[in-house]
C-alpha cells in the first residue's frame, strides 16, 4: 500500500547510499512475494475448476478425495460431448451471440456516427437524453417487459434477448467517442462525389472505424455469452437453452451426481471468453473505464 514514484533502482542519477538501497530491495521483494500470493489466491478457483473437470468419476467418490489429481482423464469431456443437450446449448449461445453482435454493432455505430459527425437540430439534447437513460434502474422494467413479451408471443424465442438492446446507450456512447476522430474532409469528399447519407456511413465510415467496431463486438459478445437472467426469464424449452442456463439446470439436478459434467462444461464455456480476453485485453480494459471517467 504505497505509491512509489522514484525512478528505477539502477538509475545512476539517483544512486543513493547502500542502506536505503538494501531497504528498497527488501521492500521490492516483499511486495512481489505478496502480489504473487494474492495472484495465486485469484487463480485457485480456476485451478480447482480445471482439476475437477479432469478428475475421473472414481476419484469423486474416494474419501478423503485426493487433493492432487491422481489420474487425470478427459472422460468427463467425452461424456459431455455425448450429451446432445450440451452441444445444442453451445450452438444456441453462438447463434444468439451472432444475432446480438451483428445488430448492436450496426445500429449503435449508425447512431454513434450520427451524433459525432452529422449536424442536426437538437443533437446535444437528444444525446444527453440517451446518457440519462443509463441511470434508470433496469430491474423495474423486468416484470412489465415479460408481460409485454408474452402478449407479443415472444416468450420462448430469442427476440426478447435481442430486440430491446439493438440500439443501446452504452454502444452509442462508445461509438460516438470513436467517430469524433473521423476527419470531416473524408465525409465532405464523399458528399461531393454524390454519395447518399447512408452510403457515406456504409462505404466510408464503417471501414475506418473497424477497431471501435471490434471492441464493441467484444463487449456485446461477452455480455451475451455470460448472460443468465434474461435467458432464465424468457426461455422455456430446453432445446432453446443457452450454455449458462444449461449449466445451472444440470447443477441443480440434485438427485443425479454430476458436478464433473458441470465443471467440464464450465471450463469449455470459459474458453472462448478467455481467448477473446487474452487477445483483446487492451480494448476490453479501455471499455470498462469509458463510462466512469468522462
Amino acid at each position: 500500500m504505497a505509491q512509489f514514484v522514484q525512478p528505477a533502482l539502477n538509475s545512476p542519477a539517483h544512486r543513493r547510499p547502500l542502506m536505503p538501497r538494501v531497504k528498497r530491495l527488501a521492500t521490492r521483494t516483499l511486495l512481489t512475494i505478496s502480489l504473487i500470493v494474492i495472484g495465486l489466491a485469484f487463480l485457485l478457483p480456476f485451478y480447482w475448476m480445471v482439476v475437477s473437470s479432469l478428475r475421473p468419476i472414481s476419484e469423486w467418490y474416494a474419501r478423503p478425495m485426493p487433493l492432487i489429481l491422481q489420474s487425470p482423464t478427459l472422460e468427463n469431456y467425452i461424456l459431455l460431448f455425448q450429451r446432445a443437450d450440451f452441444g445444442r446449448g453451445a450452438l444456441n449461445t453462438v447463434f444468439l451471440c451472432i444475432l446480438t453482435v451483428m445488430t448492436q454493432v450496426f445500429f449503435c455505430s449508425l447512431a454513434g456516427y450520427t451524433f459525432a459527425k452529422l449536424n442536426f437540430k437538437g443533437r446535444n439534447g437528444l444525446f444527453i437524453f440517451i446518457l440519462a437513460t443509463m441511470m434508470i434502474p433496469s430491474g423495474v422494467g423486468m416484470i412489465p417487459n415479460f408481460i409485454i413479451m408474452s402478449r407479443l408471443h415472444w416468450v420462448d424465442t430469442y427476440l426478447p434477448l435481442v430486440v430491446p438492446g439493438i440500439a443501446n446507450a452504452f454502444g452509442i456512447f462508445w461509438m460516438r467517442q470513436y467517430c469524433q476522430s473521423i476527419p470531416d474532409e473524408l465525409l465532405d469528399a464523399a458528399r461531393i462525389d454524390g454519395c447518399g447519407e447512408f452510403g457515406i456511413f456504409w462505404r466510408v465510415v464503417l471501414p475506418v472505424i473497424k477497431p471501435a467496431l471490434a471492441s464493441l463486438a467484444i463487449f456485446v459478445f461477452l455480455a451475451t455469452w455470460n448472460d443468465f437472467l434474461s435467458p432464465l426469464v424468457f426461455l422455456r424449452s430446453p432445446d432453446k437453452f443457452t450454455i449458462q442456463l444449461w449449466l445451472s439446470v444440470v447443477s441443480r439436478q440434485a438427485n443425479i451426481f454430476q458436478p464433473h459434467l458441470v465443471m467440464a462444461g464450465s471450463v469449455l464455456s470459459s474458453i472462448p471468453i478467455l481467448i477473446v480476453f487474452a487477445t483483446l485485453q487492451r480494448y476490453f480494459m479501455a471499455g470498462l473505464t469509458a463510462g466512469s471517467l468522462k
Binding site: 478423503p64 423495474v140 439493438i166 474532409e185 480476453f277
Partner: protein, 305 residues
C-alpha cells in the same frame, strides 16, 4: 448548438428535419426501443404494482395494497438485512483492496505489473453462474476443496453451504473474487489523472509511501471511489446469479439464509408469478437504491470540497 464549426473553417446551419431527415432516421432505433422496452415498461410497472396481477392476466385494482403487504412481509426485511450484511462484507473491503492493488500495480517499483493486472482481472470475465458453481464446488460438503483440506488435517468437515453461519461468508468470498478486479481497473484509470508532481513535492517534504497513500492518493481518488461505491451498492441490491448458482436456485438456500433482494424479487415475480406484488418490490428497491446513491453523492461531494 445551431452552428457547429467544421475543420474546414466554414460553419453551416443544420437544415430543418424535413429537408434532411437522415440524422433523425439514423438515431431513431434507440428512441423507438426505449419507448417500447424502457420507458413504457417502467410506467406500466407502476400500474402493474397497483393491481393484484398474477400470471399474464391483470386482477383487481388494489391501489397500494401490494406495498402494504410488502411492508408487513418478514421475508422482505430478511432479504434487506441479508443484502446489507453482504454489502458490509463486500463493498468496503473491495474498494479498499481495489485501491491498494491499483496503487501497487501502478507503481514502478513493482515487477511484472502487466501479468499481475491480467491475473487479478481474470475473474471479471468469468460468468456469474460459473463463479457461483466454482465456489459451490470449492465449499461442497462432500467433495469440496475446503473440507478436503480440513479432513486431511483430521478436522471435522463443515457444512459451508447449508449452515447459516457460513453461507453468507461464502457468498461474500465469491463476490470479492469476482468483482475486486473490476473495481481495480476503474481505480487504475483514476490514478492516471493524479499528477506525479504532487508525489515529488511530498517526497521532498520527507513523506513516506504510506503517508502518501492516505494523504494524497485517497483524497484525490474520492470521486473515483464514490463512483465505485455507487455502482457496487446498486450491484449488491441487484445481486442474483452468484447466490442462485451457489445455493441451487432463487430460494437463498437453507431457511433463506442467503436470500438477498435480487432473489426475493425474482422468486416472487417469476416463480410465484405474482407480477403485481413483484412490481411493488422492484419499485421499493429502486427507491432504496436511489436514496442510497443520493446520500453517497451528498457525503462524497462534501468530502471533495
Amino acid at each position: 448548438m445551431t452552428a457547429i464549426p467544421t475543420t474546414t473553417g466554414i460553419t453551416h446551419r443544420p437544415k430543418p428535419w424535413w429537408r434532411n431527415p437522415y440524422p433523425y432516421i439514423f438515431i431513431s432505433p434507440f428512441y423507438i426501443l426505449f419507448v417500447l422496452f424502457g420507458l413504457g415498461p417502467i410506467i406500466f410497472s407502476l400500474v402493474v404494482s397497483m393491481y393484484d396481477w398474477r400470471g399474464v392476466r391483470p386482477g383487481d385494482f388494489i391501489f397500494l395494497e401490494n406495498y402494504i403487504t410488502l411492508f408487513k412481509e418478514p421475508n422482505f426485511y430478511k432479504s434487506l438485512a441479508n443484502t446489507v450484511y453482504i454489502w458490509l462484507g463486500t463493498v468496503p473491503v473491495m474498494i479498499f483492496l481495489a485501491l491498494v492493488f491499483a496503487v501497487l500495480l501502478n507503481s514502478k517499483l513493482v515487477r511484472w505489473r502487466g501479468a499481475f493486472r491480467t491475473v487479478y482481472f481474470l475473474p471479471v470475465v468469468t460468468s456469474l453462474i460459473i463463479t457461483g458453481l466454482i465456489f459451490a464446488s470449492l465449499f461442497s460438503t462432500s467433495y469440496g476443496l475446503a473440507n478436503n483440506i480440513l479432513t486431511h488435517f483430521g478436522l471435522e468437515p463443515v457444512q459451508w453451504l447449508s449452515d447459516s453461519r457460513y453461507m453468507k461468508l461464502i457468498l461474500i468470498l465469491a463476490i470479492l473474487w469476482r468483482w475486486t478486479g473490476n473495481d481495480m481497473v476503474i481505480m487504475l484509470a483514476g490514478l492516471q489523472s493524479i499528477p506525479m508532481e504532487i508525489y515529488e513535492a511530498a517526497r521532498v517534504d520527507g513523506a513516506n509511501e504510506v503517508q502518501n497513500f492516505w494523504h494524497i492518493t485517497v483524497p484525490l481518488m474520492i470521486p473515483v471511489i464514490l463512483f465505485d461505491l455507487i455502482i457496487s451498492t446498486i450491484g449488491t441490491f441487484n445481486l442474483f446469479e452468484e447466490p442462485y448458482a451457489l445455493f441451487g436456485g432463487p430460494g437463498g438456500g437453507v431457511r433463506g439464509a442467503a436470500l438477498v433482494t435480487g432473489l426475493y424479487l425474482y422468486s416472487n415475480a417469476f416463480v410465484n408469478a405474482r407480477f403485481g406484488f413483484g412490481s411493488s418490490i422492484a419499485w421499493v428497491l429502486a427507491a432504496i437504491i436511489f436514496a442510497l446513491s443520493m446520500i453517497q453523492l451528498k457525503v462524497g461531494s462534501r468530502k471533495i470540497q
